[in-house]
């Protein structure tokens, strides 16, 4: 009897916690987004008011687009930057593999907020990069990076790079090297071995890396708040203000639901195209 229940008993405490504090809140949030709240009393009533979505999207589609644009740019940069290094560590890391992986993770040893503050320092008008360049008159005095979209993308790309590099590394490391040898034995050139053997085999990893980078970056507001200006507000800032400043729970919930939908679409697309079993292998 208890043997048959064992898997369920083992997963019960953690499962309940996740149910109560992960799944239930998500459902609560979805229901909040359909409720109408009285701003005076803060009391909310369920009205199945789908209009909140249209209204919020109408108001903030610009910020939503900016978020897609910045998170997309940062993800593409991260994929391009980390693929070669993941490839190099997987194939040529040798005995130093763990050292190089630790180096990929090194940003995580400094608090996320501090990392972003340091980028504010680095990119500041008289900082360690622009200062000397301006001093040498290589850049005009009024040149600035901070408070532009460029700074936000740079911060996002830096902060999320490990989330891209690690799944890619796992995918490349898992390639059976004999398959590659077989390709060469069959007179594949290095270029065609890469495009017809390595790349197809890393597609699940590329997809996982994309999801693990793009989705969190989409909802990020720390980089935008610290590095960006007022004209490039991302959706995360809007949600944060809705919940913590304006106490507009219905509006904030609707926008969060939109972000969640993007994440869900990505995950289901992954499961559908590449099988749900492999999805966890990249964490």
């Amino acid at each position: 009897m208890s043997k048959a229940l064992a898997p369920y008993l083992l997963s019960l405490p953690g499962g309940l916690w996740l149910l109560a504090l992960f799944l239930v809140p998500l459902v609560t949030m979805l229901s909040l987004s359909l409720q109408t709240c009285n701003f005076g009393t803060g009391a909310c009533v369920m009205t199945w008011h789908w209009g909140e979505f249209g209204q919020q999207l109408n108001l903030y589609h610009g910020q939503l687009l900016t978020s897609f644009y910045y998170a997309g740019a940062a993800t593409v940069i991260d994929l391009l930057v980390s693929f070669p290094i993941a490839y190099w560590i997987a194939f040529y890391g040798g005995r130093k593999k763990n050292f190089f992986l630790l180096m990929l993770l090194v940003p995580f040893f400094v608090s996320f907020v501090i990392r972003t503050v340091v980028w504010e320092f680095i990119l500041s008008d008289q900082g360690v990069v622009l200062g000397p360049l301006k001093h040498a008159h290589l850049l005009p005095q009024n040149f600035h990076v901070l408070a532009t979209g460029f700074a936000v993308v740079a911060g996002l790309a830096y902060n999320y790079l490990p989330f891209t590099a690690l799944p890619l590394y796992v995918a490349i490391e898992r390639i059976d090297k004999r398959v590659l040898d077989a390709a060469y034995d069959l007179y594949a050139t290095r270029r065609s071995a890469f495009s017809r053997v390595i790349l197809p085999l890393t597609i699940p990893g590329l997809f996982a890396a994309f999801l693990l980078t793009f989705v969190p970056a989409l909802g990020d507001y720390v980089n935008q708040q610290i590095l960006g200006g007022t004209s490039d507000t991302m959706i995360g800032t809007v949600i944060q203000n809705a919940f913590l400043v304006n106490l507009d729970y219905a509006g904030g919930s609707a926008l969060s639901a939109v972000l969640l939908a993007v994440a869900l679409i990505g995950i289901f697309a992954y499961a559908r195209l590449l099988g749900s079993r492999t999805i966890e292998d990249y964490l």
């Binding site: 064992a6 898997p7 083992l10 997963s11 405490p13 953690g14 916690w17 996740l18 992960f22 799944l23 239930v24 809140p25 949030m29 909040l32 290094i85 190099w88 194939f91 005995r95 763990n98 050292f99 190089f100 992986l101 090194v106 940003p107 995580f108 040893f109 996320f112 907020v113 501090i114 990392r115 340091v118 320092f121 500041s124 008289q126 900082g127 830096y158 590394y169 796992v170 490391e173 090297k177 590659l180 040898d181 290095r190 693990l212 989705v215 909802g219 720390v222 995360g236 919940f243 913590l244 729970y249 969060s256 972000l259 994440a263 990505g266 995950i267 499961a271 999805i279 966890e280 964490l283």
Partner: protein, 285 residues
């Protein structure tokens, strides 16, 4: 994440593809990789450097320009009371959350490693919930938890912080412990059973010592996630302000140099732990 763990376990180094060895471009990849590593390390070096920077005249905040070397803020690390108390709050929070999340996450990992359908129906559902938990934008988790706490009239404080932090740590622990357990030899447990050990005794004398490295890795991971968390804490902390939230608030008015001192200290301890774990893992192998 769990990748380091998994890589260490596999132990053997993979042979480079043979046709790749002698080629003119063989310096390009290593040089490129070291440049990426330099890029990743650069901001950390800047942080450490600026923790030794004198402040501008009359101001107790970090300045963008270099004013000269000082160890003043290491000696006066404790002189910003709110910063120090937010730091200790973060430590308490991270220890509490790591203990709870490690226990719950380890049990989940045990269930996932040992059982598969039909004995464990819903396993793939559990896996997808874990993945969604990790991949969902943190702002959605924080906002939805705030919505829940507000609906339930639960006052925001240490309790809500712990509830929230455990909720986002469990999945990471489960995944980390599971990665460490792949290749777990169940015949050892069967042997203990055959020799008359009870399930309880088998768990504590055979299973637990074997999975202990994975459990420790999971605990370190949740400690690190919790102590670094900004978004969720910002939503559910209320007047309780953990370290990252305090630093974020301080960016508006200029951060005191002690922030970089704390950052450097956390970095040093973290790196020491990571190196110790790699060295220990190598010795075991």
């Amino acid at each position: 994440m769990s990748t380091i763990v998994a890589a260490r376990q596999s132990g053997e180094s993979i042979q480079a593809p043979r046709h790749h060895r002698r080629r003119p471009g063989r310096f390009v990849l290593p040089i490129y990789s070291w440049l990426v590593i330099a890029y990743l390390v650069f901001p950390i070096a800047v942080m450490i450097l600026y923790s030794f920077n004198k402040t501008g005249p009359g101001l107790q905040q970090v300045s963008f320009s270099w004013n000269g070397f000082t160890t003043q803020f290491y000696r006066e690390w404790n002189s910003v009371p709110q910063l120090s108390s937010s730091f200790w709050l973060s430590i308490r929070l991270a220890v509490t959350s790591a203990l709870i999340a490690t226990a719950l996450g380890t049990l989940l990992a045990l269930a996932m490693v040992r059982y598969r359908p039909p004995r464990f129906r819903g396993k793939s559902f559990v896996e997808q919930v874990l993945f969604l938990n990790i991949a969902a934008p943190e702002i959605v988790l924080g906002a939805s938890l705030l919505g829940l706490f507000v609906t339930m009239n639960l006052a925001r404080g240490f309790l809500t912080l712990v509830l929230a932090h455990v909720a986002f740590c469990i999945a990471y622990v489960a995944v980390t412990v599971r990665a460490r357990m792949s290749g777990f030899d169940t015949s050892l447990e069967e042997a203990a059973h055959d020799l008359g050990a009870s399930s309880w005794a088998t768990f504590w004398t055979v299973t637990f010592p074997l999975i202990l490295p994975g459990v420790l890795a999971g605990a370190l991971m949740s400690f690190a996630l919790s102590i670094d968390d900004f978004v969720t804490s910002n939503f559910v902390g209320g007047a309780n302000v953990p370290f990252p939230v305090w630093v974020y608030g301080a960016t508006r008015i200029g951060i005191p140099p002690q922030v970089f001192v704390f950052g450097t200290a956390i970095f040093a301890v973290g790196i020491a732990c990571a190196i110790a774990s790699i060295v220990l893992g190598r010795r075991q192998a």
